[in-house]
Amino acid sequence: MTSLRLWLRMICALLILSLISGCWSSREIEDLSLYVGLGIDVGQETKFEKKISAQGGGYPKEEIVTATVQIAPGKSSGQQSDEGGSPSSGKSSYSNEQLTGDSLLQIFRQFSLRRDRPLIGHHLKVIVISKDIAKKYGLKQLLDFVLRDNDIRPNCLVLISHHRALDVLTSKDPSRIPAFYLTGITNNSYISNKILEPVSLAKLDAEMQSGSSFLLQNVLNADGEDKFSGGSIFKAKTTKFIGELSQTDLEALSWIMPEEKAGGVIKTYSKEGFTVLYEIKKKTIKIIPKVSHGDISFHVKAESEGWLMEDWRAPEKEEKGAYLKELEQDFAKIVDQQIDQMLYKLQHTYKADVAGFRDSLRIHYPKTWKKVKDNWDEVFATVPITYEIKTNVVNPGSSTE
């Protein structure tokens, strides 16, 4: 009797175990299309779409955006057609698919009419937005879906492409997945001050909500190769693209933004005309806001320590004393000039504070900040900013002369 009950119990337990280990709504990963990159362009129908619409297969839409999704891994066979972007033949580690429409989600759902595997956004790494569409629509609108979606994680990066986002998401080498090396490049911001600190969706959302103008990394593309260069300025309230900063401006920017990591080099020419290079190893930056009788001003104190890493002086001489002092001043002067140009662009050309002066004012003078908060960009355009840059050479690298 007891053994029968024991058996019954064991069967019960086995049954339950086999049932609860299964997942109710599981979906096999092989049956899904994981998209790792998303490109947003001005609407432009692909050939495929045009042919389909010619057959009456369209739906009412205004063709505002063209979305490119980069799916990894791509297809193994080479039947890829004339759809731009994907490598045309052979094995490829990714495939780009494009559709045009009015809303991102509608476009995504439209994919399910064409492909057997549904799209899934858990692994989206990078979003590339073309400059042209960012001029027309604010990022708040373009990214609204992405921020609401429950699959896409807020650590996804956002980049701006100079031309079409599709080109940026295309690489000559089919074994390289563009979305991955784009995220890889952003991680280099610690050795070059020409790359902005990576901006994730979470950070971007915070900036858009706080009502400040902000800066996003630019990506250029030529012959299937991408390059990071400069940044795009977005206006506070509209979150639309208003202008660009060059690589040099970004270098200058890194001297007045405390949170930027050290890194980067300064090039100057010695009196004799030889190239001398200074690599920044450590940087301490202090932004000191001042408010007197309602007048706001800023003073930036930046000091860096670095190594003298290259000196082309032909008959090698000892690098010390007056020569080093002179070089240090030269380096500082170059930074001074760069900052000058950059601040002119920010204050006069674009009237947008993307350098984070707002934060130091907010922290140190909360009451004044409350007054100027709503039209800070206009106030910023007239605020006097002074700065002093010091560069110290502490080390000649591994070769001393």
């Binding site: 109710w24 807020p154 915070a206 900036e207 909500q209």
Partner: protein, 366 residues
């Protein structure tokens, strides 16, 4: 099983308080409080309300200690007379039931959003409730033993996850301190007070404590642990995502964990781990409230069959959980529960305590 024989230690009482308090609130706490405060001083509000609640909690246990070995449902009768006691008792029971329903509903909403998008809600909820009833039908000692397992797991994983997010942390997001004076902090007190519901479990638990004299200590420790967890959460979420960044996030604490990836550390993403421990916490809150409601019915109506009561409550809790039509109504229900709890468990115990002193009911300070 005879519950009146069961005794729990002071530490176990602490464990119950903390497990009850940590629940649905922690995922939305940074948003609700920072919306009300409007400056980065949210964390001061959290500390202040923790202190206030400790005061309230001590009043509550002082009341309980005047009536040793009696739960709130039994001793209210002695203070106020039968009819008022019935009304108050029913209100308490209803409150416990609705809390249980609310926790279940939030759990179902969040798992539906981030974990099991295509699983029907009833399937998630049913499994949850059945396991809950399996647990509480074992009585208080079983509940406590499970809680003692759950709590350390929760604390370790939670603190680890929150600390992993330090790569996003920027101290500037928490400055300036008191930039706009003390008023914003005061405004933030209400929503943060609401998140401290849970101490009321002592109304029932004190009766089962081995050493009711130490209920003060249990209360203080329980609230202390909960306050520090809330504090860490708010500081890290506001510090990492900034005040403006969490205004529009529905579940900010979860978004904090979703905002980073760590390569080369077994897991790259930590939100599922967070959801797991958080579901454990919701489960414990659900279990204890369901249990308290059952105890309430038993003591108020002098019923005998505890297990029958528990099973009878099940469908009602389920139905209550399904009442909110959407996520907004669920949040509204949460706010309402918070308001009710202030009346039931902050104001009422004080009144009862004063009444019992005036009418000389109950023993001296035990």
């Amino acid at each position: 099983m005879n519950d009146s024989q069961v005794k729990i230690s002071t530490t176990q009482a602490v464990v119950i308080i903390v497990n009850y308090m940590l629940g649905a609130g922690i995922l939305t706490l940074p948003r609700t409080t920072s919306k009300a405060v409007g400056t980065p001083d949210v964390w001061i509000s959290i500390i202040l309300s923790g202190l206030i609640i400790t005061g309230v909690g001590i009043i509550l246990v002082t009341l309980c200690r005047r009536f040793p070995e009696k739960t709130v449902f039994q001793f209210t009768r002695e203070i106020t007379g039968r009819w008022i006691a019935y009304i108050l008792g029913c209100a308490n029971i209803l409150y416990f039931m609705v809390i249980a329903a609310f926790e279940i509903r939030v759990m179902a909403d969040v798992t539906g959003m981030y974990l099991l998008e295509r699983t029907p809600t009833w399937a998630i909820v049913m499994v949850f409730m059945w396991i809950g009833i399996y647990l509480i039908s074992g009585g208080l000692p079983v509940i406590v033993r499970v809680f003692e397992v759950i709590l350390p797991i929760t604390l370790v994983i939670f603190v680890m996850e929150i600390l992993l997010s330090n790569q996003l942390f920027e101290i500037g997001n928490l400055r300036p301190v008191l930039g706009e004076g003390i008023m914003p902090v005061v405004k933030g007190l209400k929503p943060s007070l609401l998140s401290y519901t849970g101490y009321e479990v002592m109304l029932v638990i004190t009766a089962y404590m081995q050493n009711p004299k130490k209920s003060n200590k249990a209360m203080t420790w329980g609230l202390g642990i909960s306050t520090s967890i809330y504090l860490i959460t708010v500081v890290m979420v506001v510090g990492s995502l900034s005040l403006d960044g969490i205004k529009t996030r529905t579940w900010p604490t979860l978004d904090l964990v979703r905002s980073f990836e760590i390569q080369g550390l077994i897991f790259e993403r930590f939100e599922s781990l967070l959801l797991v421990i958080w579901i454990l916490q919701i489960f414990s809150t659900f279990a204890i409230t369901h249990y308290c409601a059952s105890v309430g019915i038993r003591d108020l109506f002098k019923a005998k069959k505890m297990r029958t009561i528990m099973y009878c409550l099940l469908p009602f809790i389920y139905l209550a959980a399904m009442i909110p039509k959407n996520v907004y109504e669920t949040f509204a229900l949460g706010d309402m529960l918070g308001n009710v709890s202030v009346v039931l468990f902050a104001i009422l115990p004080l009144v009862l305590l004063l009444l019992s002193i005036i009418r000389k009911k109950g023993g001296k300070h035990a």
